[in-house]
Each structure stands twice: as C-alpha cells, then as structure tokens.
C-alpha cells in the first residue's frame, strides 16, 4: 500500500506539469482551430530562456517570471506575422506553419546553445526532501507541483469567472457569431495564444531543475502531451487537467512493476479512451 501511495504522489506531481502544457495546447486549439505542433519546441524555448536567466542572474524564481514574459513576446510576433495570415485559409497551412516553426526553433536552440544539454540547479532553499513516513519526497518537486496547481486553478478561474473567460469560451464555441456580436476575435485569439505559450514556459521552467534542458526536449514531450489532450478531450481545459493527471498516474504506476511498458501503457489508455469516448474524457460532443 505504501508503495502505491508513493507512486501515486510522484505520478500526480508529474501529471501537473503535463497538464500545464496540455492546457495551453488545448486552449490554442479551441480558439484558433490549429493543433500547435510548435508547442513542444516552444516548451524547449521557454526552458532555455529559463536556463539563461538562472545562469546569468542566479535566481531561479526570476526565471519563473521572465521566461513566460519572453514567450509572450514570442507569441505576439508569431501570432501576428506567422499564424494570423494563414488562419483564414482552409486546409493545412497553419498546421504546416507550426510544424515548420517547431524545427526552426529546435534547430535555432541547437545553433545558439549547442547540441549538449545544460544543467539547471535546484534552488538551494528547495534541495532536500520532505519525510512523509512512507517515503522521502523531493521538496522541489512538491513545491513545483503546488505552483503548477495554483497556476491551473488561476487559469480555470479566469476562464470560468471573468468576462474575458466568457468571451474566450464564446469565441471557442462560435467565432463567427462572436464576431457578429462585436467581439474582437483576433485580439482574443492573440491573448489565448500568448496564455498558452506562457503556460508552456512555466511548465518548462518548473521541470528544468529535475530534467535539465536540451534541444530535443520539446519534440520528446510533445508526443506525450498529444496523448494527454486526446485522452482529456481536445479543446477542453478540464480535460487537459484530467488527462495530464491520469497520464502521470498511469506512467508512474506502470513503471513500478513493468518499467518497459510505461510508454506503451499511455498509448493503450489512449486507444481505450478513443474507443469508448472518441472526443476524449471531457471533450465536447
């Protein structure tokens, strides 16, 4: 029982990071109808921005603020000059644009920072462990997961309890009608795109002290994040959170006994969910 409890804790903590990434991807899809293939590369870019700030300024917590701001600026440029011109076209152009963008970002990181990964230290005040009796839990991961939960709750509050959130949901439901009602859809899309990128940056910076940063990190995690949004339901914020936690949990529990199968297990889960609920656990019908 204690074994399962430790695996569950670790799994949930990792799931929160996945949820942050998946929520951004899902929100962007809801607004723009584009699966952002560059989301992984954006995550890597956020991680490297974070690394740069930790490296130069020596304070981890500044990176947690600075990296999202950096990516919001990237988001403004990308949305205005690369995505908006393509959004009105039918077909695959926006998707291909994000696909290409992901390679441009990844290769630029390689050129700028080298092909070898970089270490990011755990902030000194958070090294060490919290004794829980049945296990020693990483103090850093506990705090990172708590920050992640706060961010998810804040995002949820914005979406559910504010005028902006209502507008975002309206645009997601019917952008033409929203426009007819006088909503500046383009502006809303830009806000959501940047919000998605900021969440990716936060997930990246929070994960960096445990996983380091390397150029391919984004392409690697993107596959898992796709699984999360498919399981949770593409376009649904709650689905992304549920999917992230579920995938984190399954990965952790499976790796307790059958580590070789942990990557396969999430795809099996995805297949089962698709068969039972083709739109994902919380996807809109």
């Amino acid at each position: 029982m204690e074994e399962v409890a430790s695996q569950v804790l670790v799994g949930l903590a990792n799931g929160v990071m996945l949820a942050l990434l998946a929520a951004g991807l899902s929100l962007i899809f809801g607004q723009m109808n584009v699966v952002n293939f560059a989301h992984g590369a954006i995550y890597a870019l956020g991680a490297y921005l974070g690394f740069l700030m930790v490296d130069r300024l020596g304070v981890f917590w500044l990176a947690l603020v600075g990296a999202p701001i950096g990516l919001i600026l990237v988001g403004i440029v990308t949305e205005r000059w690369l995505l908006r011109p393509l959004l009105d076209r039918t077909g695959l152009e926006p998707l291909l644009m994000t696909f290409g963008l992901s390679y441009v970002i990844t290769e630029s990181i390689r050129v700028g920072f080298g092909k070898i990964g970089k270490p990011v230290d755990i902030p000194g005040e958070l090294s060490g462990t919290i004794p829980l009796g049945f296990m020693d839990f990483s103090k850093y991961l506990a705090v990172a997961a708590a920050i992640g939960v706060v961010l998810l709750v804040l995002t949820w509050l914005v979406l559910e309890r504010t005028d902006l959130g209502r507008i975002i949901r309206a645009v997601a439901q019917d952008s033409a009608m929203s426009m007819a009602l006088g909503i500046d859809v383009i502006h809303v899309r830009r806000i959501v795109f940047c919000l998605g990128l900021a969440l990716a940056a936060l997930a990246a910076v929070l994960s960096a002290p445990l996983r380091g940063v390397h150029p391919d990190m984004g392409l690697e995690i993107l596959v898992t994040v796709f699984v999360v949004v498919v399981v949770g339901g593409l376009g649904s914020f709650g689905g992304s959170v549920a999917g992230g936690l579920l995938i984190g949990l399954v990965t952790s529990l499976v790796s307790m006994e059958w580590p070789q199968w942990k990557d396969v297990a999430i795809f099996i889960l995805m297949s089962l969910v698709l068969l039972a609920r083709p739109r994902g656990l919380l996807g809109r019908e």
Partner: protein, 411 residues
C-alpha cells in the same frame, strides 16, 4: 500580405542555413601538408554531424585533424601526406553505407574510419568488406565482431572487455547489494546478460533492476521502489542525458544522501559536463579515457595538451578513439611499407600508446582500451585540482589496456 511572406522567406532561409550547418561534408582535409610530398594517402571519415551524437562526431573530426596534421608535420607516412575527407551520414544507416561507397568509388580512399552508431558501423563494414578496404569502427559496440571483414578493426571500447575489471572493482569498493538500471535496448541487454552471468561469482546480490526505455527523461517514478530496496550501490547503465536526468531526480529525492553509492556504467567528458559538479560529486563512473589521467598515463597528458591547445577544450573519450585510430593506421602503413590493405591489416594488431595504452588483437580486430574508474569532483575539488572548468573527475582506479582484458577469441 507582402510582409508576412517576406518574414516567412526569412524563416525559411534561416532553416536552410541551419540545415546546411549539418553539412560538414566533403571538406577535403586539413591545412596544406608540410614536409611530405607525393600522392596523399586518403582517409575517409563517416560521422553523424546531425542528431544526438553530433557533438561526439565533432570531437572525432577534430581529433582526426589533429592527428593528421601532426603526422604530416613530421613528414607524413612513407613520404606521403595524409589527407582527410570527412562525410556526414546524418545518423542514418543507409546514408552511412552510401557515403562509404562514395568515398571508395569517387575518392578512392585507402581507409575509412567512423561512425558513432552501431547500425552505421555494420553498414559501413559490409561496404568495406565487399570492396576490400580497411575500416576502423569508432563507436562502442559489441555487435560488429560477428560480422567483421578481414580488414575491419574496432577502436572504441566494447563492454565485454570492460566488464571484468569494473564489476570486480565496484563489488570490492562500493558494496555488494546492487540495484541496476539498464537502458532497454541492445547495449543494456548485453550488460544485463554479463551481470546475470557474473553476479554470483562476484558475491553480488541484485536487489532489483529497472529496464528503462531509451530516452527516458523522467525517472522519478522508479525512485520510490529503489529507495525501499535500500541498495548499497545503484548501478546506472543508462547513457548520456538519460543518466544525467536520473542523477538529478535521484538527488532531489534524497536517494543518494544515505549510504547508497552511485556507479555510472559509462561516462564521458561531455556527459559529466552537462550534468555539472553538483550531480556528479562523489558518484563513480567507468571512463574509457579521461584527459586528466596524465600522472597514470603520460601519453594522455601529451595528447590532452595538444588537443586543448588547438581546440580550447580537453579531449573526450571519442576524440581519443579517433586520434588512436589515425595514429594506429599510420603506424601500420609505416610498418607494412605500403597502403595495400591486406599488408596494412596484418600490421595493425599490437600494443600502442598514443592517448593511453591500448591493445588491438589479431583474431577479431577487437581492442582493449584502458579502463578508468573516476570519482566525481565537487566544484571545490576541481578548483583545488587547478582546473575549475574541466577537472570533473579524479582517477581512483585504472587498468591499462592489455590483451588479457579481452574475452577469448571466437566467443
């Protein structure tokens, strides 16, 4: 609409630049040979300048340039200069075969060396075998031995040669209750087979093991089980970035605070550098070459100094492998008095000491490299050692490469 198109063009242009950056290919060699005249002896390098091993490929190309320039400055071989022709196999098996083919047919090279992935080694080997050209494989693999042609040699380490020394050392010095983490592919499975055979003889109890998929970035879900088993040694065979991630997460969960010692299956300078002092401090690792082992092996000091003077960083293990390869080839040509492959191949086996003692044997072209156990330094220890940036480890045990390390011929 014009501006976005312009911007797109800029993005695309930058993509093209990035793509071209991978194309190290077909630069004909290094500076003009001095002191040697006559037809150059052509050496073809096939290396993966794209992908995970790109930095190692660059180390090997740099080491080859250094070796060639040193040899040419000393008058070349048989009065002829060496010429390098470097090709990029893009970490792809078929591309490795294609580049080897082109080096043989178009460039008429006398020898091919490279690449850093086992599939590519096998592919090049089948090309050189058919063409009757000398081939030196420069990546760590145990699979080439069964397929090798009579002119094929292996100059990187193989785990079967390293195992007896390192397993014995770990069991005697770190402890006998082990938790083992293997990467789930050929390399990890080969180590598991070796450990399953030898554990009981060494008096080692394997209290648990993890087969982690290659490219695992998150080990945190394995850590609770390891902590509960309370092993004396956590032996990690995962490579490169995977291992660094494991170190990070294990440290964060306090796994290494208690009496648990860490042994890394294999490490190299670039891996340690990317991990940083905080993570490698007090870990132990097997190194098939360490630039700082100059008090044990004077040749290491000479090579490291020359390499560092030219490139600004000390050489990693892969650089040493390529430097050895070029120097061994040059020696063998000198000894044979010709570039005729069958006579050069007959002259290759023997003991050498260019970067550290090595031994190449006749029966299967395998190598015994020097094996070093290094303990990770703290940042302070590195400062005290006089090189805060690169004194990542200190040598605690080593065995010079010798014939006795190799498993019996034909096994």
């Amino acid at each position: 609409m014009r501006k976005p198109l312009l911007l797109l063009a800029v993005w695309l242009a930058s993509l093209a630049v990035v793509a071209c950056a991978g194309e190290e290919a077909t630069t004909p060699g290094t500076g003009t040979p001095t002191g040697a005249s006559g037809q150059p002896i052509k050496i073809g390098l096939v290396l993966p300048f794209v992908g995970v091993y790109a930095s190692l490929a660059e180390s090997q190309a740099n080491a080859a340039r250094l070796a060639v320039d040193e040899i040419n400055a000393a008058g070349g071989v048989l009065g002829r200069p060496l010429q390098l022709i470097i090709r990029d196999d893009k970490l792809q098996t078929d591309e490795a075969a294609r580049q080897a083919q082109s080096l043989i047919q178009q460039e008429r090279v006398d020898m091919i060396a490279g690449t850093i992935h086992a599939g590519g080694n096998l592919a090049i080997n089948s090309v050189t075998k058919a063409a009757g050209v000398l081939y030196f494989a420069t990546s760590a693999t145990d699979t080439l031995r069964k397929e090798r042609g009579e002119y094929t040699f292996h100059t990187a380490w193989a785990q079967s040669a390293a195992a007896p020394f390192v397993l014995d050392w770990v069991s005697k010095n770190l402890g006998r209750r082990w938790w083992v983490i293997y990467p789930d592919y050929a390399y990890g499975h080969e180590w598991k087979a070796i450990l399953d055979r030898t554990a009981s003889r060494l008096g080692v109890t394997i209290v648990g093991e993890t087969m982690a998929p290659l490219g695992t970035t998150d080990f945190s879900s394995y850590i609770p089980s390891i902590a509960r088993a309370n092993p004396e040694v956590v032996y990690v065979f995962s490579a490169g970035g995977d291992m660094v991630n494991f170190f990070k997460q294990a440290t964060a969960f306090g796994l290494f605070d208690a009496d648990t010692k860490v042994m890394a299956g294999i490490t190299d300078l670039t891996i340690d550098k990317s991990a940083g002092y905080d993570l490698i401090a007090n870990t132990h690792a097997l190194l098939p070459f360490y630039w700082g082992a100059s008090s044990q092996y004077p040749s290491t000091g000479r090579f490291a100094q020359a390499y560092r003077a030219r490139y600004g960083v000390p050489p990693d293990g892969y650089a040493a492998i390529m430097y050895d390869t070029i120097k061994v080839y040059a020696e063998a040509v000198k000894k044979a008095g010709t570039t005729d492959p069958s006579r050069v191949a007959a002259a290759v086996p023997g003991s050498y000491d260019f970067t550290e003692p090595i031994f190449i044997r006749q029966c299967d072209g395998e190598i015994a490299r020097t094996m070093i156990v290094g303990r990770g330094n703290t940042a302070d220890q590195a400062r005290q050692a006089g090189d805060p940036e690169w004194a990542l480890r200190q040598v605690v045990a080593s065995a010079a490469g010798a014939e006795s390390m190799l498993p019996p011929c034909g096994q």
